[in-house]
């Protein structure tokens, strides 16, 4: 141990000892005065101030005059007050007693009709619980809804017209001094009013649409029910089951056409997710189907509607084939129902959402 540590240790010990025994940390309560204060209203305060206000001095105060007194004293009399006359009660009116009620022969009690049949039991009322609103002295203002119930894509920024007209500046290798590179000011809109696409005249000719990508052949329509006698007859494999079998056989996911273009923003993706969630009804699914996560692929039209025939099961985890089938059908219903009028997707980013893979994970919706 070197000298510095010894000195430091001794110093610290001294400081601690002084703090403990040298009344460094002792403190006496600071004396303070207590004054009783009463809160009064503004009217009371005004009344108090009014009483303490100095009265206005009157300019001239008239002296009170003594009333005129008669010179002679009034005459006094000592006549006794006579009692007021009271009318004597008519004794002849209320001498007869109340007539006794007329007693008649008491009828024998009627025998009660007792049937052997049990009374009809009213269904008991179910237990009901109601939340009693807490009473408050003053209603609180309703909070303003600050978050939109649905996520929406952020609006496009407004285009600001530049006040200064600038020309494009390009680097000129021949120039001695290179000017700063800048873009030319964009010209203003050519039209003076907004013309919607529907109001425009139809084009005289259009490019023939591209053929759809090849996909699995559609399942044949189900045949007429066979004249079987029992309900236990195993159903014929449907198109869904064939798709399930195909999905089970191929370990590789179905190859979808590659999308290109700028991706969707987080807000746009969330808007699509919320839209599908609103139609994903898992209330009628079995417990096993609620343990099954399915990945569903689809193609979209340019007006943001799902192509029903392109909806396919890509993969499934967690359930049997039967549960996978129910989970897939519920997911398919959700996609078609809420996409019937087209999802809210930016048309200029069609390349980003032309092909979509949705994973339906019911973990949070599970019945335990």
């Amino acid at each position: 141990m070197n000298t510095g540590q010894i000195i430091s240790g001794a110093g610290h010990i001294s400081l601690i000892a002084w703090a403990l025994f040298g009344n460094l940390l002792a403190s006496e309560p600071i004396p303070f005065e207590v004054m009783e204060v009463t809160a009064i209203s503004e009217e009371q305060f005004a009344a108090v101030m009014a009483t303490q206000r100095t009265p206005d001095a009157a300019a001239e105060i008239a002296a009170p005059q003594a009333p005129d007194m008669p010179s002679e004293a009034p005459a006094l009399s000592s006549q006794v007050d006579t009692a007021p006359e009271q009318p004597a009660p008519d004794a002849a009116q209320s001498t007869t007693p109340d007539a006794a009620p007329e007693l008649t022969q008491t009828a024998p009690p009627v025998e009660a009709e007792v049937s052997d049949e049990p009374p009809v039991l009213e269904p008991p009322q179910e237990d009901m619980a109601a939340l009693v609103p807490e009473t408050t002295l003053r209603p609180k203002p309703r909070p303003v809804e600050r978050v939109a119930p649905e996520q929406v894509a952020p609006p496009e920024p407004d285009t600001a017209v530049d006040d200064v007209q600038r020309e494009e500046v390009r680097p000129d290798e021949s120039a001695e001094e290179q000017a700063e590179e800048s873009e030319a000011t964009a010209p203003e809109e050519a039209a003076t009013e907004i013309v919607t696409e529907a109001e425009q005249a139809a084009p005289s000719k259009s490019v023939r649409p591209k053929a759809r990508p090849a996909r699995a052949p559609a399942p044949e329509p189900a045949p007429e029910p066979e004249p079987t006698q029992t309900a236990e007859t195993p159903p014929e494999p449907s198109g869904i089951e064939a798709a399930l079998a195909a999905a089970a056989e191929t370990s590789e996911p179905t190859s979808a056409p590659t999308s290109s273009g700028p991706p969707l923003s987080a807000g746009e993706t969330d808007a699509l997710r919320v839209a599908v969630q609103q139609c994903w009804n898992v209330g009628s699914l079995s417990s096993e189907a609620l343990n099954t996560t399915v990945v569903v692929g689809m193609q979209m039209t340019e007006d943001a509607k799902p192509v029903s025939s392109s909806i396919r099961l890509i993969s499934a985890t967690g359930g049997s084939s039967g549960a996978t089938k129910q989970a897939y059908e519920a997911a398919r219903r959700a996609i078609i129902r809420c996409g019937a009028r087209g999802y809210n997707l930016p048309a200029e980013k069609y390349g980003a959402w032309r092909n979509i893979e949705m994973t339906f994970n019911p973990e949070k919706m599970r019945i335990k």
Binding site: P235, S284, R333, E357, E363
Partner: protein, 441 residues
């Protein structure tokens, strides 16, 4: 060196910034984790009558199917007045646009005819309206004309199974104790009915008290306890012939709380002798019994697991009634209930994953379910007196007895989904208690 490092860092940072704006490869991928839980809207237009003899049945069958599905709480019927188009021919294509417009997500179409032999022939199809596809294939059912309700229940079972992915429970029956008369002088008799209260039939008279009827795994026999001799004795009754016989018993003992094993030949029950109650099994054919417990406490209300390997029962060996599980051959039992209150009448689910029970806590009775290891206990009901749960054949619904308070209190049957939703009173002509649900017929 430092300059090169800064250049590299700048390049990496720029690449990270530029990446989101770059072209997207592959499909857009999103994950849906939140959905809605609401009844699925469906439509069942009246079935088409192929001949005049089938007109009444065609009208009635659609009504029973709709009632079955709506009663589950999982489906919502779209009223007929909302239909845009009807079904006039079973073979005509379905106008999906019309059904989409009324938001029918499932559609059931069918036709009914009476064949030359007087048999009722019912054909039906189930459609996924928004997908524009048929769910499964069409089916045809044949039965007697009197059995049109059973045929309707079978159609509803198929609809339920194809949409939910689990078996139905509509073509089943319930045996229960019918109760009439005042509370202090109540007459009790065994009765059997369809699960929805239709086709009520009495199996015994009210000359003696009967308790705790239980179906066999095939639904053809019923075990129950009767005080016919003054002491509780176990009887087995054949449902078809309504004949009964007493199971083997010993003098000076009381036998009660019987329940079939999954093989249908073994019965597990409680036997009280000398003030102590233990659990026994008996071979129905030979009458030979085996003692499974021998504790000085009361062990009763045994119930087999679906695989027949274990038995859950109630016991007061810890000082209060709790639930225990032991091997079907007896031996050491382990407690599974751990909450406050008293537990009783455990019943193993047909699926094998849950155990339903009665719980008494803080002056209230509850019907609840828990995992077979005692975890995830959930109370589904609460009232003055709820007891005696029984499982639907698919393990999705529980029926039980609810008794109201007071001298005029009466017992009636209720059902509830295992989620705790859809609590409903089961319609019965009289007071009713001690229900037991049959397997699917």
């Amino acid at each position: 060196m430092m300059h090169r490092f800064l250049t590299l860092l700048t390049v990496l940072f720029t690449a990270l910034l530029i990446q989101p704006a770059a072209a997207q490869d592959g499909p857009l991928r999103i994950e849906i984790t939140e959905g809605v839980i609401e009844p699925l809207p469906f439509a069942v237009p009246a079935f088409v009558a192929d001949n005049a003899a089938a007109e009444e049945a065609a009208r009635n069958i659609a009504g029973v199917i709709a009632a079955d599905l709506t009663g589950t709480g999982l489906f919502r019927e779209i009223p007929a007045k909302a239909f845009i188009s009807g079904i006039t021919s079973f073979s005509s294509p379905v106008q999906f646009a019309d059904w989409k417009a009324v938001n029918a997500q499932a559609l059931v179409t069918g036709a009914v005819s009476v064949d030359a032999g007087g048999k009722l022939v019912v054909r039906f199809r189930i459609w996924d309206v928004f997908a524009g596809q048929e769910l499964g294939s069409g089916l045809q059912l044949v039965g007697t004309q009197d059995g049109w309700r059973r045929i309707a229940h079978k159609v509803a079972d198929q609809v339920y199974a194809r949409i939910t992915g689990e078996g139905g429970y509509f073509d089943s029956r319930v045996v229960f104790v019918s109760e009439t008369g005042p509370k202090d002088k109540r007459a009790k008799r065994l009765a059997i009915m369809d699960y929805d209260g239709a086709n009520l039939t009495y199996l015994t008279d009210s000359s003696s008290i009967v308790l705790a009827p239980r179906f066999s795994p095939t639904g053809d026999r019923i075990l129950y306890t009767s005080y016919e001799t003054g002491f509780p004795r176990i009887y087995v009754l054949d449902v078809a012939s309504v004949r009964r016989r007493e199971l083997e018993s010993q003098d000076g003992t009381m036998s009660f709380a019987p329940r079939f094993g999954p093989d249908g030949t073994t019965v597990v029950y409680s036997l009280s002798r000398g003030g102590n109650t233990d659990i026994f099994t008996m071979d129905v054919g030979t009458g030979r019994s085996t003692q499974l417990t021998s504790a000085p406490s009361i062990e009763t209300a045994p119930s087999f697991s679906p695989d027949g390997r274990q038995i859950v029962f109630e016991s007061d060996r810890s000082g209060s009634n709790q639930l225990y599980i032991m091997s079907a051959s007896g031996g050491e039992a382990h407690r599974i209930s751990s909450g406050t209150g008293q537990y009783g009448t455990p019943v193993w689910s047909p699926r094998g994953d849950l155990i339903a029970f009665t719980k008494q806590s803080k002056g209230r009775f509850h019907i609840g379910v828990m995992r077979t290891d005692g975890s995830e206990e959930r109370l589904l009901t609460a009232s003055f007196l709820d007891e005696g749960p029984t499982w639907s054949p698919n393990g999705r619904v529980i029926m039980f007895t609810r008794e109201t308070q007071g001298a005029q209190g009466a017992a009636s049957l209720y059902s509830v989904d295992i989620t705790g939703r859809n609590l409903r009173r089961v319609s019965t002509a009289t007071g009713a208690s001690d229900p037991a649900w049959s397997p699917l017929q």
